[in-house]
Amino acid sequence: MLTAFLISVGVLCAINTLLALLMVLAEATIGNYGSVRVTLNGRRELTVDGGKPLLAALKEHNVFIPSACGGRGSCGLCKLTVENGGAPLSTELPWLSPEEQAAGVRLSCQLKVKRPLRITVPEEWLSVRQFAARVAALRDLTYDIKEVRLQLIDPPTIDFKAGQFIQFEVPPYALSDEPVYRAYSIASDPRQRGEIELEIRYVPNGICTTYVHRHLKEGDPVAFNGPYGNFYLRESDRDILFVAGGSGMAPIKAMLHQMAHEQNPRRTLYIFGARARRDLFLLEEMREFERRLPRFRFVPTLSAPAPNDGWTGATGLVTDVVEREVSEVSALEAYLCGSPLMIDACVNLLKKKGLPEERIFYDKFA
């Protein structure tokens, strides 16, 4: 009786062990894709661990592809052209136009690297780096906008063009297990390469802004990557029109720093739109820029000044002021930064005034 029992249990354990070993073997052979070679833009070669999504594999080799959803396939930002990647998965199809599908564009977060790939990555993404930084200072600019100053630790310096943005990494909340990224323009002087300044406005129910306004403290570590974006001052002699509101001031401020340093002689008008006096900030800095740049004019406008604001400056929406102040557009470039609605309204207004679309620049990050 006992022998029968022992034999049975023994055999059962043996079967279990055998099958477990089989699993390990299968994982090591079938599930193992070894090292796979990925060739970027025909010249750079990376050796990555096979089986991983391309997005993650590239990230490990310090090639940062934009992503707002942490690789879940729900933002569509991580598109890359892959020569021999195979057909797109059903999760990717809604994001790819027929032309893109024909050209071999895939979502790099959905494509698992299993065989050698030849991919094309836009050049500006190749200069994007991941940064580890520390909060050097937090300052309230208004009741809902915080200025966050980050001191870079590794790498210790950043090279960016005034107007570009970074992707700020929000650590995972209690219930989610992936970080979330949100884009913010750099507000500081590009010459100050060891520190960057961000202007972050509190958005109710926003993951990142809630984190920054409620949880972030001086000395906290922060990770971000960048720089990204095609929003920067173009070299020319034309007059400049800046239109921004709220935290849209950030890239404009960076550009003004650059212009002040270069003593850029271009005639510049900055229309800053806000609701009431309590939404205005950094007025002193703007006056300083007016002093350093003789042809720079700063025009704040309030659309709904409070009765006790005692406001004597311009009133109305930014579009009203643009309408009033802009007449000659033949030698003009416009740089817009702010809420999507404001940008749309300004673009339409400027196009109606005759400003060609190629001379209107705005940051369109998702």
Partner: protein, 198 residues
């Protein structure tokens, strides 16, 4: 169990007269959850056919060549399930390697096949009815095909229902599906008597 019945006969019976889903009412949960769309039903059904056939044969070998000689028949429940789980795991790895699209399409359903009671049921019936190896193969394959036929029919019916029928709110979803499954089972009872597997 009549050893004279060829494996093809057993297969035929497993699809019609002893349909694992409509006659024995096994394998209902993924049936209810997936039968909304014909395409996914086809994918899942094909996977079930493959797993059912293979595990039926594998479990026959394990039972008659290992458990019976060692008088360990009582352990068949545990051992069958372990074999099924290991097999499905290997299948998952192979599918992931060979076809990314199929792997993505099946998604969560692959591991769910492991706990599909129809798979275990097929192995257990094979033991109860004392099939030979050939009959076990036919029974596994036939049950898989029968399950596939049932889920495809149900998906077709549900897609048509979604477009035209006004299902009372209380019966939406699982309710009406079970009623339809019952009606299908009644229809399949008409095949009774063609072949007797018991």
């Amino acid at each position: 169990m009549n050893p004279q019945l060829g494996w093809l006969t057993v297969l035929f019976a497993a699809v019609f007269t002893n349909n694992i889903l409509l006659t024995n009412y096994l394998g209902m949960c993924s049936f209810l959850a997936v039968s909304r769309e014909v395409k996914t039903s086809l994918g899942l059904g094909a996977a079930v056919v493959f797993v059912m056939t293979a595990t039926s044969v594998l479990n026959w070998i394990v039972y008659y060549r290992l458990l019976v000689p060692l008088h360990m028949e009582a352990f068949r429940f545990i051992v069958f399930i372990i074999v099924i789980a290991a097999f499905v795991q290997v299948v998952e790895l192979v599918i992931e390697r060979v076809s990314e699209t199929l792997y993505a399409a099946l998604g969560i359903f692959l591991p769910l096949i492991t706990v599909n009671c129809a798979i275990l049921g097929v192995s257990l019936f094979m033991v109860i009815r004392q099939y030979t190896l050939a009959q076990a193969f036919g029974y596994g394959l036939g049950s898989g095909l029968g399950w596939l036929a049932a889920i495809l029919a149900m998906a077709g019916i549900r897609q048509k229902m979604a477009a035209r029928s006004r299902v009372p709110r209380g019966l939406e979803g699982a309710g009406i599906t079970l009623i339809v499954a019952g009606i299908m089972a009644l229809a399949f009872m008409g095949f009774n008597g063609m072949v007797n597997l018991n």
